[in-house]
Amino acid sequence: MATALSRKDFVSDQEVRWCPGCGDYAILAQVQRIMPEFGIPREKIVFVSGIGCSSRFPYYMNTYGFHTIHGRAPAIATGLKVTRPDLDVWVVTGDGDGLSIGGNHLIHALRRNVDFKILLFNNRIYGLTKGQYSPTSEVGKVTKSTPAGSVDFPFNPITVALGSSATFVCRTVDVEQKHLGEMLKRAHQHRGASFVEILQNCNIFNDGAFNELSDKQIKADHQLVLEHGKPLIFGKNKDKGIRMNVQRAEVVQLGNGVTEKDLVVHDETNLSLAFMLANFEAPLPTPVGVFYATSRPTYDGAMNKQLADAKAKSGTGDLQELLNRGDTWKVN
């Protein structure tokens, strides 16, 4: 490209219409900031979304964009990416859009390993429809549709993705700008479906859902930042770690004979470890970062290879020959 692009080049002329204070603003800002780093011309980039507050995202990106229907963005993006492997395709979805109505498309896109990025904005609530509980809302959650508390056991987006044989799975937080940027970069580098869960605050209908992970005072004690090849350490003073006690993870205080050597070392390529981390519950900290990354042929790549192989083997199809196939006869 002749001239490098800047953040501003990715800002569309549309007025952003999320509620003031919504976590979506931070995500939008970081995506716009990071895009120039990829060095991809704007016309090659497409954002495809479903329906929800989060799914308004494409309108605000000065790229190609498609705001589709509730839950179907991964399916629409699949048809696009398969026929247009030259494009850089991003899917934006919410916890309702991606895990409720569109759960089927999400899991199948992940197992097929279509080469696009899926950003799932998880605010653990239905924002756009004004505050019903979502498939990630916790049991007991009181919302407009669950006045007596939800009795619906929630999904864990990370285990759903891992269980769908996703090849890249990570989690980050809307306000953690640096970490979010790193995760976007990692997702973009990955060939295949990259699943990025972004914990996002809906300050209107579910304010503070992720306080433990975003409140500067306390987050260090609740957040475990995963880094490949590094021991699992957390805490304000970096003095707590994760150790295996037979087959179970436990929190240990470093010191008094406990050293880093006793701790679990993160390995992004270890699926069992990824599942274990994904299932951490208090008192264990909440992991953020890359849970799992592996490499597998992409669906779009494999399909295009089949087409290329067929052309190499039989030549580009001749329409007249095709029409004339089979037993024919002449009538004079």
Partner: protein, 632 residues
């Protein structure tokens, strides 16, 4: 043509089939209808299709109608497991697969029982004698052996030892009993081929292709075929063979084609002619799956087939491909149409080209999945949320599916709109001879992507067609966003303006209505200046209606036929054509859906002729209805 009045006479003539005489010269027949029936595992579809191919090569006009059970393998020997294939071959023009079989081949008691009602008195029935074991007779629900209890006295029954003769012929092949038993269909095919003087060499060639990798099976099948043929020649049972001379068909090169294959080829042709790749997003469903199968093997034509996780993903992926600039299609049947409806609304709103193919089957719900019906018309017209008109095109014969699929793509692209193509189970699996088109003479399909950023906006419109530009990702300077939210005229920006919404809805409706400009004038078969009655039809009823109308006209009565390909918009001259007739009758395989449209749009007091049995109209049903209407 095997039509009720003729068929009776025909069967009477066929009494000469009875053997005993040594001399086996051929006798002439104008047309014959054979129904091959057996257990689903008996290979009757294959026998029927190969017999059809032989007949086509012999120059007859033909029409076929397979009839298979929904169960892949219902318990052997039961009525539920009976599979049938009917072929009508003739020296005259053929419009239907025939009302009644002149010859029924029944491979077991269940096949006999399931089909006997359709055989006219004195009709020919050929059975595999050994299949009428006590157990099979009971399984079919007979209390006594129909071959001995005189219940078949009014027919000409030929009891052939098919199983024994096949076993004897294959005794030295080393195949086990089961494999030998599975060759019985080839023996029968050979025998029937002899009876109607069909050369079997094309079937031998076909077998060579099919069993390329299993020479044992090839050898056995060819042996069984030849044994059946020779048996016809030598047995004393048949007095003579029959000659059905070639039909006077328009000169050209022909192949036999089913509706589903024609549909697939029509799409590929449109893709090749437009210079754009073809993308099919689809979820398997009877009777649509064969289009997916056919297209899946044409990858060197730049055909992408995506077997999606459900019908919603099928259409959604196609919408994505259309956004990217591919010729995008999705194929399904009625239940899948329901699932696709919301996404089709998105394609209407975003004005993306897409063809949705509904290969209709008998409903509601799972209904009778292998049987045809036309009850999805109003769903195609109105089965969406909001005001979302869509062009609808319906094919009337198996070969017509090619032209209609092609035309559907052409319209979708020219007008930037989803188009619904309707066929049904009868067209999908039925076959007829198809004059091979010249690929270079197919109508032009022009794809013009917008490339000029100057003055570009996603919803500016071509003044004539009202279509918006196709601006695909990858084009510098045209970055834009589209979506389901109401959008402003021209700019496409999200807009909640009430007046703008009405403008956009009305503009889209005008765009679709405007397609009528290029619909060819309605052709009337019969009285050009009007008359007593016109029968209006659409889709697969074409053959039955045309034949019935022809027959009644031959009696000097004033009845005509109009058959629609374009159901939305309707041809602009249709109303005036219909008004030339004293009476209008709409014949369709539903409870009166086109009838409702005609009455609502034109305030014409049309009457209905309806059948919802998962079976095509018999010509005789239509002739008697037409006669009553003419009298009444």
């Amino acid at each position: 043509m095997a039509l009720p009045p003729e068929a009776a006479g025909h069967a009477a003539e066929s009494s000469g089939l009875r053997g005993g005489s040594a001399h086996k010269a051929g006798q002439r027949r104008d047309s014959v209808v054979i129904r091959f029936a057996g257990d689903s595992g008996d290979g009757m579809q294959l026998a029927g299709m190969q017999f059809t191919a032989e007949s086509a090569l012999a120059g007859n006009d033909i029409a076929t109608l397979p009839d298979f059970p929904a169960e892949i393998r219902a318990p052997a020997g039961t009525i539920a497991g009976v599979s049938g294939f009917q072929v009508n071959f003739s020296s005259n023009e053929v419009f239907t697969a025939g009302d009644e079989p002149t010859v029924l081949v029944a491979m077991n008691p269940a096949a006999l029982k399931a089909n006997l009602d359709d055989v006219p008195p004195n009709g020919v029935i050929i059975v595999d004698k050994e299949a009428f074991s006590e157990a099979n007779i009971k399984r079919a629900g007979y209390t006594s052996n129909p071959l001995n209890d005189h219940s078949l006295d009014k027919y000409q029954v030929f009891q052939v030892d098919v199983t024994k003769l096949t076993t004897t012929a294959l005794h030295d092949t080393g195949l086990n009993n089961r494999a030998v038993f599975r060759c019985r269909n080839l023996f029968v095919l050979g025998m029937i081929s002899w009876l109607y003087q069909r050369p079997i060499e094309s079937t031998v060639r076909w077998l060579e292709g099919r069993f390329k990798k299993t020479p044992d099976l090839l050898n056995a099948n060819v042996k069984a075929l030849r044994a059946g043929y020779n048996y016809g020649e030598t047995t004393e049972m048949f007095a003579s063979s029959y000659e059905v001379p070639p039909a006077r068909i328009v000169p050209g090169t022909y192949r036999n084609i089913t509706g589903n294959t024609a549909t697939a080829l029509g799409f590929v042709a449109a893709s090749v002619r437009s210079g754009r790749p073809l993308f099919l997003g689809s979820y398997p469903i009877t009777p649509a799956s064969d289009v997916l199968h056919d297209l899946a093997s044409l990858k060197n034509f730049e055909v992408y087939t995506f077997q999606a996780e459900d019908e919603i993903a099928g259409v959604a992926s196609a919408i994505g491909a259309a956004f990217g600039g591919a010729i995008a299609i999705t194929t399904t049947s009625g239940p899948g149409m329901n699932l696709k409806a919301e996404a089709v609304g998105l394609a209407v709103k975003t004005e993306l080209p897409l063809v949705i193919t509904d290969i209709q089957r008998a409903g509601p719900s799972t209904g009778m999945p292998t049987k045809p019906e036309q009850a999805d018309l109003l769903q195609a017209m109105y089965g969406r949320h909001g005001e979302s008109p869509i062009p609808i095109i319906a094919a009337s014969t198996p070969a017509d599916c090619f032209d209609c699929a092609y035309e559907a793509v052409r319209i979708a692209i020219k007008y930037m709109t989803p188009v619904i193509l309707m066929t049904d189970g009868q067209l999908a699996n039925g076959a007829e001879p198809w004059p091979l088109p010249d690929a270079n003479k197919l109508p032009e399909i022009k794809v013009e992507f917008r490339t000029d950023p100057n003055g570009f906006m996603p919803y500016i419109r071509d003044p004539e067609t009202l279509s918006r530009p196709w601006a695909i990702p990858g084009t510098p300077g045209l970055e834009h966003r589209i979506g389901g939210l109401s959008s402003e005229d021209q700019t496409g920006n999200v807009s909640y303006s009430p007046a703008n919404n009405e403008l956009m809805v009305r503009t889209r409706a005008r765009k679709i209505a405007g397609i009528a400009r290029e619909i060819p004038p309605t052709t009337v078969f019969g009285d050009q200046n009007g008359g007593d009655l016109v029968v209006l039809g659409w889709g697969s009823t074409y053959g039955s209606i045309r034949e019935a109308v022809k027959q009644i006209r031959e009696k000097g009565k004033s009845v005509s036929h109009i058959h629609l390909r374009y159901l939305n918009p309707l041809p602009s001259d249709l109303e005036s054509q219909l008004r030339k007739f004293k009476k209008v009758m709409v014949a369709e395989m539903n409870m009166g859906q086109l009838l409702k449209l005609v009455r609502a749009d034109y305030l014409i007091d049309a009457i209905g002729c309806n059948k919802i049995q998962g079976r095509p109209f018999k010509v005789s049903e239509l002739t008697s209805r037409i006669s009553r209407v003419l009298e009444g």
